[in-house]
């Protein structure tokens, strides 16, 4: 019962984190499941979003503008990876690693050399000291705001995938020959996908930082694995349910992933063991997926 009560006490925080990482997972869904691109850029673009948003809050920017700026910074990171991969023909994994490595220093630069930035509790963030947050019941304000953000992004993405550009993005991951046949440069479509994905990842990092009112230079370590775990849990669970949109599956995957990690901690593991739990969980899911029969790869892709 101790385990259960510990888990339940932590549940609101777990849900909040799950929702924040759901935004990250939506970004990784685009690179991993749609573009089939193992994009390590995210380990740098997640903290990039954090440092941009916190620096701007410290400058007195409006929290929403600070989010937007973070997303734009993430878009630039995605653009860099895309250009390196497509125009300079560097392997996908290496392109991401190069930009991720560079971003570590860039993030420190943006933070003027400090590894830790804090925003005071009295400052205006998305979750505090603004008219909307003040109007909401105090205990549920964070959760409500996060649900709104995640749902808004989910519906935006769902809509995007039904547009002409969205079709093209889906096509390039599915069978890039079709994109070439449509007289479109498949490389440019890939770059666009990386731009969108990394702006979502940076946005997630920005929300994360506004939530905790801090940026820490190491906060990006393991971002890809964490996001991938969420994506794969969601997609594996809803593989047979054609009616469930992939975006919904991924959001639920993120919530479940966070719940499993906090359950493991409630069982007595130290918070420091979290990465180990993540790794074990991720391995478990992958192995399970293997046993159930790996999803068929489409020919020609």
């Amino acid at each position: 019962m101790d385990i259960l009560s510990a888990f339940l006490t932590g549940l609101p925080a777990t849900l909040e984190q799950g929702l924040i990482y759901a935004v990250l997972a939506l970004g990784i869904m685009i690179t991993y499941t749609i573009l089939d691109f193992p994009d390590l850029t995210v380990d740098g673009s997640f903290p990039l979003g954090g440092v941009v948003t916190i620096s701007l809050l410290l400058e007195g920017w409006h929290p929403l503008l600070a989010l937007l700026a973070a997303a734009l910074a993430g878009a630039l990171a995605g653009l860099a990876t895309g250009l390196i991969h497509v125009k300079m023909k560097v392997r996908d994994l290496f392109s991401g690693i190069i930009v991720m490595t560079a971003l570590y220093s860039i993030n420190l630069r943006i933070a003027s050399g400090s590894a830790l930035l804090n925003v005071r509790g009295t400052a205006t963030t998305l979750f505090r000291n603004n008219p909307v947050a003040n109007a909401l019941p105090k205990e549920a304000a964070n959760l409500i705001l996060l649900v709104v953000i995640v749902l808004a992004l989910k519906f935006l993405l769902d809509w995007f995938f039904t547009t002409r550009s969205g079709y093209l993005l889906r096509a390039v991951g599915d069978n890039d020959r079709v994109v070439t046949a449509l007289a479109r440069d498949k490389g440019n479509v890939k770059i666009a996908g990386l731009v969108i994905a990394n702006s979502l990842v940076a946005l997630s990092g920005a929300v994360f930082s506004q939530h905790l009112r801090m940026f820490e230079v190491g906060m990006g370590a393991g971002t890809l694995v964490l996001g991938l775990a969420s994506v794969i849990i969601g997609i594996t669970l809803f593989k047979r349910a054609q009616k469930v949109k992939q975006t919904t599956a991924v959001i639920i995957g993120s919530l479940l992933y966070k719940a499993s990690v906090s359950l493991a901690i409630a069982c007595g593991l130290a918070p420091g063991d979290m990465k180990l739990v993540t790794a074990a969980l991720f391995l478990g899911i992958l192995a399970m997926g293997r046993i159930k029969g790996k999803e068929k790869k489409h020919a020609g892709s």
């Binding site: 547009t163 079709y167 070439t180």
Partner: protein, 257 residues
């Protein structure tokens, strides 16, 4: 009109596996001509198609489209005027997308991409009208994913997609080879009808000598990067399958097969 002039193509240049395929190879394909190309493996048929479409680079020579030098033009740019169907039916469609989405994609080929709705609901009736004459029932399953279709259905859809927007050239790369004989026959008839209706300049590579004789108005036999037989019009009609087979065999014996 498609033309290649004194083409040079070398595979694996500078290595021990260096292989010169085309050496000063020239070919002219007239406007609205339907050319079937036969030849043994390694004779250069598919390489020729890849060179025309810009899928592989050349070491020398020129590729001309209606007199314009397109040797260095990128593949996707050439595709504005070219429709191509591959041997593997999976290559022409997106497996994870529905028939309707695939058709919509092709329909947007000449349009600006942007954020307009991918599928134009007003076009659905027109799509059904295009699919119905195929006789494969595709018009009743617009929302089925292409990955769930049979090879013949996917190839038929690929044909419709490749010619949905106006193109001038159709490139067929053994497009019936992976299909069962009956489906192959259906697809071949469909192809012929589309080519005639749209007046397309067509190059069809095939291993089926009968198709090469029956369809098209010019026949080429290729061997070791050269054309060893080129018949058109009345001359082509006089050709019999035995003649072709005889020639094919003599070539093969020469190669030691």
């Amino acid at each position: 009109m498609l033309e290649v002039k004194s083409l040079h193509k070398v595979y694996n240049p500078g290595t021990v596996r260096e292989m010169c395929l085309f050496e000063d190879f020239s070919l002219n394909i007239g406007e609205h001509q339907f050319v079937s190309v036969v030849g043994s493996n390694g004779s250069g048929k598919t390489s020729l198609l890849n060179i025309l479409c810009g899928s592989i680079p050349v070491e020398g020579g020129q590729v001309l489209m209606d007199g314009e030098d397109i040797t260095n033009q990128k593949e996707h740019v050439r595709n504005r005027r070219i429709g191509r169907i591959h041997q593997n039916p999976a290559m022409g469609t997106c497996a994870g997308m529905t028939i309707l989405e695939n058709l919509s994609l092709s329909d947007n080929k000449t349009k600006r991409m942007g954020l307009k709705q991918g599928t134009d609901k007003n076009r659905v009736a027109a799509y059904k009208q295009l699919l119905a004459p195929l006789g494969l029932g595709l018009e009743d399953m617009l929302n089925a994913r292409c990955g769930s279709l049979s090879g013949g259905q996917r190839q038929a859809l690929a044909l419709v997609m490749a010619t949905l927007t106006p193109v001038d050239f159709l490139i067929l790369d053994e497009h019936t080879a992976a299909l069962d004989p009956k489906t192959a026959e259906t697809i071949m008839k469909l192809t012929d009808r589309v080519v005639r209706e749209k007046n397309l300049t067509t190059i069809m590579v095939t291993h089926n000598l009968r198709y090469a004789l029956e369809y098209g108005d010019r026949l080429l036999m290729m061997h070791k990067g050269g054309v060893v037989l080129d018949k058109q019009g009345a001359d082509k009609q006089k050709l019999r399958i035995e003649d072709l087979l005889g020639m094919f065999n003599s070539i093969s014996i020469e190669c030691g097969n």
